[in-house]
Amino acid sequence: MNLPDRTVLGNGAVLVSASLPSNPFVAFRGSIPAGVAAEGESHGVAEFTSRLLLSGTRHRTAAKLADRLEGIGATLEFHNGDEVLSFSGRSTRDTARETVRILVECLSEPTFPEREIERVRVELLNDLRIEADDTHLRAMRELERFVFPNDHPYGRDPKGGADRVRRIRRRDLVAFHEAHVNPEALILAVTGDVDRRLMEDAIAEPLSRLDTSSEGVPAIPPPRPHKPRRVSIPMPHKSQADIVVGGPAVPRRHDDYYALNLANLLFGRIGLYGRLGRNLRDEQGLAYYAFASLDAKTAGGMWSLAAGVNPANLSKATRSIREELDRLQTDPFHSDEVRDGKDNQVGSLIVSLERNAEVASELHRMEYYGLGMGFLEGYPEIVRGLEEDRVREVAMKYFTAEGSSMVVAGPVGRARLSL
């Protein structure tokens, strides 16, 4: 992939693009800082708003929007996140201009019809019930609440809970939209069958029509300190229990990020889920999945691990998780593990950027976190330059049983859990 192109439009929107001609369509991914962090005390409005952006504009009803988009074979989606409202889509080269015009129309002129508000309210309430019945989602939601306490945007349910969903009114949505959905700090990453002419005519031109009327981009406060907890959520009708363990990590631009990312790979991702998977799945056959994750954002981050086990194996599994965490202190990553991990991260640059969707996401991430357009070229050097001891140190510092919370959801009692 060549160095991506970057353009700043007059209204502040940033366009990033890279050509991937063998993938015969155009894909884009973008964002506006209108996620959970922007909603203040009005919990749930960001999520509610994001689900209504395809529900009608001043020019078209929801049905007409869907008919037109699918009539030209395009896709357009909006999703709410902790920090941003994100949007993504696909079209052919010929229909890219119209697809971006519809994107602009949905962002700038939504009408929030009452009928659609009530439809989304029903949908959100169902989603809350479905998530509450899902062992993994329920455990993760609780873990996030512990790691990011005091209603921090990273820790709370973006839907705001059933009471909030029932109370949100059209005026709340209109106010949130007017205050936060505008092109200041808008990023759009485009890839696939694109070139400079297509970017100028079909993408930049319609996007530059978005007006700026901003209240400014809200700063995200750093999370308050985490107090580790152990909680079980009995769900007796389930077959399997989900265990999640986790604690605070670092923001994306923190000095420890790259070392911690490599440590996370070695602990619970590489191959069949790193050390964790080797122990729980490969050696003991306790779980189909047992993996670790690192989620680094603007103002903070979280690392976590998850495993799905039969309730009869719960104690054995938590004991094994504890052993693997303790082993990071007594038997830290060996040189050959670190070497394999570095090879994996460098090699994965070729493999993980083969699809339009993956490239668009990566371009977006580079711009959002200010990593620079040369980031991908310099990445191998960053990885190769990581000192082995640094990788071991950050694993010892962040991946500890004492510093972590644990939640178990499934066919388990309320008995106190230990890790």
């Binding site: 699918e70 389930k238 191959g271 069949l272 189909y288 039969n310």
Partner: protein, 426 residues
């Protein structure tokens, strides 16, 4: 797209699709063995065998596949379907030989170490138990069991827990030896390589492997259904669910293109295999208007299960709280009846064709997806199954959509599963 096809002397069909501007290569092997080739008492064995083929044998020790691919930054996985099983590695093209060596060893030399077979028993049971946590799995398993009473589509590829609890190494190993042979497989390579050079490497890796006697053809055919079948599941869950399955012909049948447009008009289109669609759900379709816009359901869709043998077209819905299963079923009946009575208008048919056309492009997103599409095509009939189907869809007339609705969406030939959610955790 230029595609080179050649069959080795031992029967291995090789399909090479070079792509000039990529540095990755995706290597796929598809075996014509799935849960349809199992017998009662051995359900889930094909899937268990798939798990065992990551555990080494021949030149590969335990954990070697993992290490070799990880060091390259590659991705790999495998999928067991009712009709076929496929394996893949996507790695830098310069390391193509690594994937070829892994697949060559996997084809004939898997170890099936008894200790490893035993360790994997709890892993596959755990995979099943994870699925059991989802109410949708119970509905899916019930629907296929209801609709197929003779044919092995009666069970799903994960198998029954009671079979997984007692199966032992010998039948699994025999199952492997019988079906994992070059003349029962196709090898697909997509990515940055020269076809002549790649073919030379393929010959070096595979030409010495011995073929097996061809597997016996499956003789079981599902008799015609004589009346509607219904099942009501009353279990804890967060939302009522409804699934209705009608018998449709095998994927290779001439009515499949018209059924694709019927599915699209009724529930939208998410691609032939729907792996590229992610979270995206269509809205410009009759079920969305009738069920979701009207707040009877929060999700509704159609799945046309394209299989080697006659299969199902499935309509499913997640009900909104307070909506009744009877009412949702009535609305689906009404929409199906409209399809049987009235030819879709031109604009609706054009929109459906455009969706199918566009998704045919979106499913070409990168070497891994292209490899998967070609492999699934080989599993069903031929690597170009998707491309040929697209050509036929273009020619379908509205009248043919009505005809297939009248022929297949027949009440006497359907199975209905209703999930009555009790309590739930919310």
């Amino acid at each position: 797209m230029p595609t080179h096809v050649e069959t080795l002397e031992n029967g291995l069909k090789v399909i090479l699709r070079p792509i000039s501007d990529t540095r990755a290569v995706s290597t796929w092997v598809v075996y014509r063995i799935g849960s349809r080739n199992e017998v009662p008492g051995m359900t889930g064995s094909t899937h268990w065998v798939e798990h065992m083929l990551f555990k080494g044998g021949g030149k590969l020790g335990k954990g070697d596949i993992d290490k070799l691919i990880s060091r390259l930054g590659g991705k790999m996985n495998a999928f067991t379907d009712t009709d076929y099983t496929m394996y893949f590695e996507t790695i830098p093209a310069s390391a193509m030989d690594t994937a070829l060596m892994i697949e060559s060893e996997r084809m004939r030399n898997a170890a099936f170490d008894p200790k490893e077979v035993e360790a994997e028993r709890t892993v596959v049971i755990s995979e099943r138990e994870g699925a059991e946590n989802q109410p949708e799995f119970a509905v899916e398993e019930e629907l296929w069991a209801l609709a197929f009473q003779v044919h092995p589509y009666h069970w799903t590829p994960i198998g029954y827990k009671q079979d997984l609890a007692v199966l032992d190494r010998e039948p699994l190993y025999r199952h492997y030896l019988r079906h994992y042979a070059p003349n029962n497989a196709s090898l697909i390579l997509v990515g940055g390589f020269d076809p002549a050079v790649a073919m030379q490497h393929v010959r070096e890796a595979f030409s010495l492997l011995r073929p097996e006697a061809p597997p016996d053809p499956l003789r079981l055919a599902e008799p015609d259904q004589r009346g509607e079948r219904r099942s009501d599941l009353v279990r804890p869950g967060p939302a009522d669910l409804l699934s209705i399955g009608w018998h449709i012909p095998a994927a290779a049948h001439g009515d499949t293109p018209a059924l694709i447009l019927l599915s699209t008009v009724l529930g939208g289109w998410r691609g032939l295999l729907s792996f590229a669609a992610g979270d995206w759900h269509p809205r410009s379709n009759r079920l969305y208007h009738a069920l979701v816009e009207s707040k009877l359901a929060t999700d509704a869709g159609v799945r046309q299960e394209m299989k080697l043998d006659p299969s199902l077209l499935i309509v499913s819905a997640t009900l909104a709280k307070g909506a009744s299963l009877d009412r949702v079923e009535q609305v689906i009946d009404r929409e199906v009846d409209k399809l049987r009575r009235t030819v879709p208008v031109k604009a609706e048919l054009d929109r459906a064709k455009q969706q199918v056309r566009s998704w045919a492009r979106y499913e070409q997103d990168g070497v891994t997806f292209q490899g998967m599409l070609l492999s699934a095509g080989e599993g069903l009939s031929s690597w170009d199954f998707g491309e040929r189907l697209l050509g036929k869809v273009e020619k379908v007339r509205g009248e043919q959509v009505r005809e297939v609705a009248k022929t297949y969406l027949v009440d006497e030939h359907r199975s209905v599963v209703r999930f009555h959610a009790q309590g739930g955790a919310g």
